[in-house]
Symmetry: C2
Subunit: 660 residues, 2 copies
């Protein structure tokens, strides 16, 4: 054990294990998580070569091998609870997406939700037993977020009782679905249905794409891998071009909408249910943000107490880099954010579970608010985490740039969350639409409830032109006081966006152009709303913490999170007169105090996230702090060191001499 | 040619070719650059496989092949001017560092600067002819920015007249030097010199590391590649462990310091010259930031007029995504920044050339200011560019994540500039040291000149506690008025940092701790100083532009750059009373107008950067806008598509079925 890191752990002012339970949810959850982790970590069948030492094709190969093993072991151990499967998978492929993700996460669930009993008989068990390996083919080369723009067609031929599927243009080629390139032999294809000469909108079809026995692509199917990406190297994201591919009528997923043998189309009943799935996935992404941020902070903070560099006082030994104020200021606000997002993730999950109970009983009343919130928070947390990973990486200096730090991989595999499951700007605008609607309802005298209820007071609280005359009785050390000004800031920015739209309309713009010409303000309003929610939920969480020592350190983190958010957005607070100039200065001073206050607990605060070393897989972030010897050992295993002399010397460099 | 992009080019309000000349410097420079580019692009010897389709070892191999060719061709064409060599190299390895970079950029120049005539005879011509291939080994595993911390030792043995070199600890292993792992047979090693029982500080030694003929490592040398990194995949960054390696006395670079045969040490005369080299390299990095940002904007903006998505008005065709205000707000401020940094780079280069003339005549008077400025601007421009590349990538949605967009590679190869040649936070603090020194001089009544002369007025301009009472006669449409408030903001933040230090000292902190405890404020002051300089230099540049149409569009960009900087830092301006709340609101409105104003010229403004398609190497950024067909073509060449069925199906997936 590195003595520097040992010393740090002696400074803990609280019981680390207890904080781990809070992060996991309960002591029982911690126990079970560790049990699953050790099942995988100790299993020789999951031993792997460091993917960074492999070619793309080898990485894919290794991932398929491990996924196949994973399926076997899950059955062997009888792990069936979705949360536990997810945990197990994350140990087998730590932090990495894998080729069967869409089979397990989209193909099977879609069958469960949208297949008829007859279709379940035909497809579900074969898929469960991996005779059918499926993916979910929605996105096209030219069409992503805007589903109505999808071009793939499925035209019903009543004569043969088949659908004929086509990719009519290059931009209509299905593009991106995970597992489509090489792994799957079936795809659920989203296509524009045409029957009896009429377009009927998007529907889902089960399309066989490869021969079940030989795995060779079927006639009319052009399928392959879309090529290397920033990350996701284990996944064969694929393309699919359909050329007059015929499938039986019974392959359209017909639990809701139907096409009868003669081509008669029956509309689905209103389908708010799919709405729920989106909310669920976005909530998961919020938790993923928290986890990823926690992981990055663990690596950067542990390394920052092992690394010594430069000098603070002349002549003294080089200090741990975490003793530099600038380093603390890079990392501690992110650590605070990791805890904030952890608790937001827990809230989203709990709320989703509660509401989905209501939904299954036909009560959709709370869904719109959660839907709007999940969209905005998905964007808010993924954007923040995305930048934060890179701050963590760069805070490790040169070694952060080495793949051995794990931070490059964490970044490239996380960053797509800003784009998939709803592009972040689009998500922010979706939340804004809900906020503006609520704002107008409040203006019209309706009494709002729930998280947007602050808009009720819009009329008397928010001045048409905010003035410095607002009484500033804010206590910068009181979290509830800070929650209050975050709330007012959100209210003011929603109002500003509403006013921008109004002004555009007065300038004779149509409703849509007015919206577009105000979208900068709308995104800003959503952002402020989400920021308010995060500060509020973190503050609320403190109320649940009984342990005094933990309550104290989490309060410090919450205060740092709230104050730093104000510092970074001080223009908003000053402009609205929510804070005075001297208060903002005071906040800067207070932040510095909080950094020193957190310094002794920094390492144990990341220890509490309890990442297993094998799963963290970072030379810089090792629990024992033995960084340098392991960095050397890792480097020596690099493929370029397989031979002492690289062949290029004999091929190019030596012959060159004779020519000069 | 894609019709959307053709239409865009018809909208140009200025002569694109003329703007290209301004970006290059002169029409002659444009002509020559294109000449060199076409030499390389049309040369079949430089044909390559897309590196994204190769393994690490293959990428290294391909790069060595091309570098060897490059050396031959440079001689063949008689290209000898350093700027032209740099241009040629950048065409051969577009945007990518390569294995011989340190041989050409550090080993040869260090010989020229620090070798004695005898050493020049022994080493220079062999190195020129690549019998000797060298690198520059400074950084160690445990030591980067802080040179005095380096641990490698060179102990003089008078008995044999040799130096004995050692890596006494794991952390002292040389780590990171480019070309060290596999390519070089010599290294200039920085080590702590010991002679006659005394430490004499860091000196440079020429150490043979591999056999010149067989390329096998020499006895006592442990050398290899440090393993895969985020980027720099073509470069064999290496490690070097020295175990009692003996080199003759004559292998210490002795142009300045000397060790005589009996071990007597002769100190070097003051060496401000190395100072100059650092300034030069950092100026180059500023220009590199500009170039990289320009490249990223070119890709994102061209793609944004080809890509159609979502809807603005219901029922109408999907608009070009550049018509969304949020997309404009992501990209146009970056486009403005690319022009700003281009002109800052030109200024730094010109100033360096001018000052280095003075230096060679012994006049160092302007060096400290340029040195301080280059440190801060290196950090300011690389940080901003680093984030901007990712904004550009994500603004391209999913396809930005594909390696075919080129943006992932641009990012991973650029991001180390934030760390190397002086870690950015350290750089900012270096500039802050100069600012604080100047501030104190001004306080002491000294009259400052040059770029920090605004600190002369500190006493009467900057209030101890800034008040809203300051008369606000700022015209937000007048650049000189904006330059003025950027200047005042910088002055105020320098003063705030000074006050923080003062307060810490009053609290009985020692000078060093006071500095450390104020470093957040110091970095902020440097940042504001650099921001002021950039806005000022962009504004100054407009004065040189004769062409009315170009002057007009560049003025719009400059205004956008200045106003958006204020918007993002509005807290500073409000707090200091430099702007009022209503003015800040007005600025938000004005920014939106500038976005619409720039929209018609967006594509031609990136066209003016004049990136050759082959060198840009981005499917999304193609000049002709034919994105989709080329994306498909690129994907089909991906290695995973070499076979229709990947072997993993037969190895793992098919056998799995029988087991379930």
């Amino acid at each position: 054990m590195n003595p520097d890191i040992t010393k740090e752990r002696k400074n803990a002012t609280f019981d680390v294990e207890k904080l781990t339970h809070i992060v996991d949810g309960t002591p029982e959850k911690t126990r079970r998580r560790r049990e699953i982790e050790s099942l995988v970590v100790s299993d020789p069948d999951f031993k792997e070569e460091d993917p960074n030492f492999l070619s793309r094709s080898e990485r894919y190969d290794q991932a398929v091998r491990k996924s196949a093993q994973m399926i076997l072991k899950l059955r062997e151990y009888g792990i069936a609870d979705p949360e536990e499967i997810y945990c197990y998978k994350n140990c087998v492929h730590p932090g990495r997406p894998e080729p069967l993700d869409l089979h397990l996460g989209m193909f099977l669930p879609t069958l469960l939700n949208q297949a008829t009993p007859e279709q379940m008989d035909r497809f579900f068990m074969p898929a469960w037993n991996l005779e059918i390996i499926g993916t979910y083919a929605q996105t096209e080369m030219g069409h992503g977020t805007h589903l109505r723009g999808l071009e793939t067609t499925a035209t019903y031929d009543a004569a043969t009782q088949e659908f004929v599927l086509n990719s009519p243009t290059i931009s209509s080629i299905k593009w991106w679905p995970g597992g489509l390139g090489k792994t799957s032999n079936h795809a659920i294809v989203l296509a524009q249905l045409h029957t009896q000469g009429k377009g009927r909108g998007l529907h889902a079809f089960i399309v066989p794409i490869r021969d079940m026995s030989t795995h060779v692509p079927l006639p009319g199917i052009v399928v392959g891998d879309i090529g290397p990406k920033f990350g996701f190297s284990e996944v064969d994201n694929g393309y699919l071009k359909l050329e007059n591919v015929r499938i039986p009528r019974e392959n359209m997923l017909m639990k809701y909408a139907k096409v009868e043998p003669d081509g008669t189309y029956l509309k689905p009943p209103s389908a708010k249910l799919t709405y729920g799935t989106m909310v669920f996935i976005r909530s998961m992404i919020v938790s993923l943000s928290a986890k990823t941020l926690a992981k990055s902070c663990t690596i950067a903070i542990r390394y920052s107490v092992v690394r010594h560099q430069s000098e603070i006082r002349a002549g003294e030994p080089e200090p741990q880099i975490l003793d530099f104020q600038t380093q603390q200021y890079k990392l501690f606000p992110l650590l605070a954010m990791a805890y904030a997002f952890t608790f937001v993730g827990q809230y989203m999950n709990t709320t989703y579970q509660r509401i989905s109970g209501d939904i299954s009983q036909g009560d959709f009343s709370e869904l719109p608010e959660l839907h709007a919130l999940s969209a905005g928070l998905k964007a808010f947390t993924t954007w923040a985490t995305n930048s934060a990973i890179e701050v963590c990486r760069m805070s490790c200096g040169g070694h952060g740039y080495s793949r051995s730090s794990a931070l490059p991989d964490i970044y490239v595999d996380f960053t797509p969350t800003c784009t998939y499951e709803g592009e972040n700007t689009v998500m922010m605008l979706q939340t804004a639409r809900y906020l503006l609607k609520s704002y107008r309802q409040a203006k019209d005298g309706q009494q709002l409830s729930g998280i947007v209820s602050y808009l009720n007071e819009a009329d008397h609280r928010v001045q048409p032109q905010p003035v410095a005359a607002r009484p500033t009785v804010v206590d910068i050390n009181d979290l509830s006081s800070l929650v209050e000004i975050y709330k007012l800031r959100a209210a003011i920015l929603v109002e500003l966006a509403a006013k921008s739209i109004q002004q555009e309309l007065q300038n004779r713009k149509c409703q849509e152009d007015a919206w577009n010409n105000s979208s900068i303000d709308l995104v800003r309003a959503s952002d402020a709303h989400c920021h308010y929610v995060v500060v509020k939920l973190f503050t609320d969480k403190l109320g649940e913490i009984g342990d005094t020592a933990i309550h104290s350190v989490l309060s410090t983190l919450a205060l740092l999170y709230a104050l730093n958010g104000i510092k970074l957005n001080s223009g908003d607070f000053l402009q609205a007169g929510l804070l005075s100039g001297p208060q903002v200065l005071q906040i800067s001073g207070r932040i510095k105090e909080l950094l020193s206050q957190l310094r002794p607990n920094a390492v144990v605060l990341v220890d509490a996230f309890d990442f297993n070393d094998k799963l963290l897989n970072s030379v810089l972030g090792r629990y024992d702090g033995n960084v340098y010897e392991n960095l050397f050992e890792w480097a020596r295993r690099s493929p370029l060191n397989a031979t002492e002399v690289h062949e290029s010397f004999h091929k190019y460099l030596k012959p060159l001499r004779a020519q000069l």
